[in-house]
Assembly symmetry: C2
Homo-oligomer: 270 residues x 2
């Protein structure tokens, strides 16, 4: 069992930022990454549709044999985590929102936390719920920043367009001096490549990226359940996508920060 | 038969720019608009996937009874028109690319035509083929401008971000004075709301929007096949979407230039 790979599910390409953090924290583990590139983006879809898609994707991963599942997509974590846990009661399933909320609460001094996310994640309110569970007096401000997804996929992660876009999304947050939050959660896996521009525009705000805390949560979970890979295992990864291998290979490195070889990528139907 | 509505299929919301032109040219006709909002965008998907989705969507329209089909989506017109015509030999099916190519050829003086489109449409090369069929010595330059789709859906159709984005996409086109085209085809239905910014950046380039020429092509086709609506008919429209009625109602008016009432919109599965 412990020799099995860890399944990582994402709506497409952005989850590679989470995979990158998982591989860095757990270099001895094997991973299967499934990106539902045929049906991305999830961020503008309804919760019911996202839940249905996530159940199909996780079925595809469990059929291949996995010892744990990471839902790398914020939108799917928000919409589908309860349904996924109910459908797979014996399999550890973790999302990115609880670790992100935990990191935000640990980082804030004033208790005012901002969350930058997709429309779907903002509408669902999962970050607010998870932050307030841990810090009842917290103030949470959410900003739907849909355009940043397309910006990161285009690889325009710096320069005039990226700066102007981030500035426009953050302007209401930064407008009033009293109400400015002290922590900004990157609540979408597409956003870490834009972290430098966001930090530049956001000034003194502390940026929290849930990928690192999710990797830590997974490491603890594997350890607690005696699922750590056998000693000496050299971690491997393979990629499953539902459409567009060429685009995945071309755009993926923006998020994974390493080259993806064509032989590593397989197209599947869900 | 002539009393039946016209089916208009699009990957989502952008096709409403085509519907707007159709309703203006043919105010006496009834329309059913189907937007595959659950699976948009098509522009970054492979041709095989787009063809499969388009066949499903047109099946859903023909089951409801239609006298003609307009494929409002450039990507679907490029990838699926032959398959759709083969699957429905008795039904008039028209796309937006042939009318767009025709309008571009009519508008150019120098024979150098630029096409601004999604990745999928650019990769497919359908505009080049259709333009070269009509003007063998034409020079066609294509630009994949994926980000403009998200920009229009966000409603950011003017201002700093829109201008900087358009400028970045058009910069290579406008860089060399000798090689500058004289016509720019808006090869994606999402782009007409950005036409003013594009015109501002593109300077003297003449902008061609295929929606109007597609409406003219449909009018001629209905006339030739004796399918014009009975005299005195007052055109009606209803909308089918595969996900997110709320978003469709909120974002749609950017493209249709009129309010969409909740009662007009129905969610269906494909």
């Amino acid at each position: 069992m412990s020799a099995l790979p860890i399944g990582v599910f994402d709506s497409g390409i952005g989850g590679l930022t989470v995979l990158k953090a998982l591989m860095a924290r757990l270099p001895e583990e094997n991973f299967i990454y499934l990106g539902d590139t045929a049906r991305l983006p999830y961020g503008t879809k309804t919760a019911q549709t996202v839940e249905r898609y996530a159940l199909q994707a996780v079925d595809a991963l469990t059929r291949r044999g996995v010892k744990a599942i990471v839902i790398a997509c914020n939108t799917a974590s928000a919409a589908a985590l309860p349904a996924l846990k109910a459908a797979h009661p014996d399999l550890p399933v973790i999302g990115v929102i609880e670790p992100g909320a935990q990191a935000a609460v640990a980082a804030t001094g004033t208790g005012h936390i901002a969350v930058l996310a997709t429309e779907g994640t903002v509408r669902d309110g999962a970050y607010q719920r998870e932050i307030l569970k841990r810090m009842t007096q917290a103030k949470v401000t959410t900003v739907a920043a849909t355009l940043l997804v397309a910006l990161a996929e285009e690889g325009w992660i710096d320069g005039e367009v990226a700066t102007a876009t981030v500035r426009r999304y953050l302007a209401p947050l930064l407008a009033s001096e009293q109400a400015v939050p002290d922590v900004l959660v990157l609540g979408c896996t597409h956003f870490p490549p834009l972290a430098q521009v966001i930090q530049h525009v956001a000034g003194s705000l502390r940026i929290v990226d849930s990928a690192v805390t999710t990797a830590e949560a997974l490491a603890q979970l594997l350890s607690a359940r005696a699922l750590v890979a056998p000693a000496g295992n050299r971690g491997m990864v393979r990629f499953l996508v539902t459409d567009g291998q060429d685009r995945f290979i071309r755009v993926g490195p923006v998020f994974l920060a390493r080259v993806i070889a064509p032989a590593e990528v397989e197209r599947i139907d869900l």
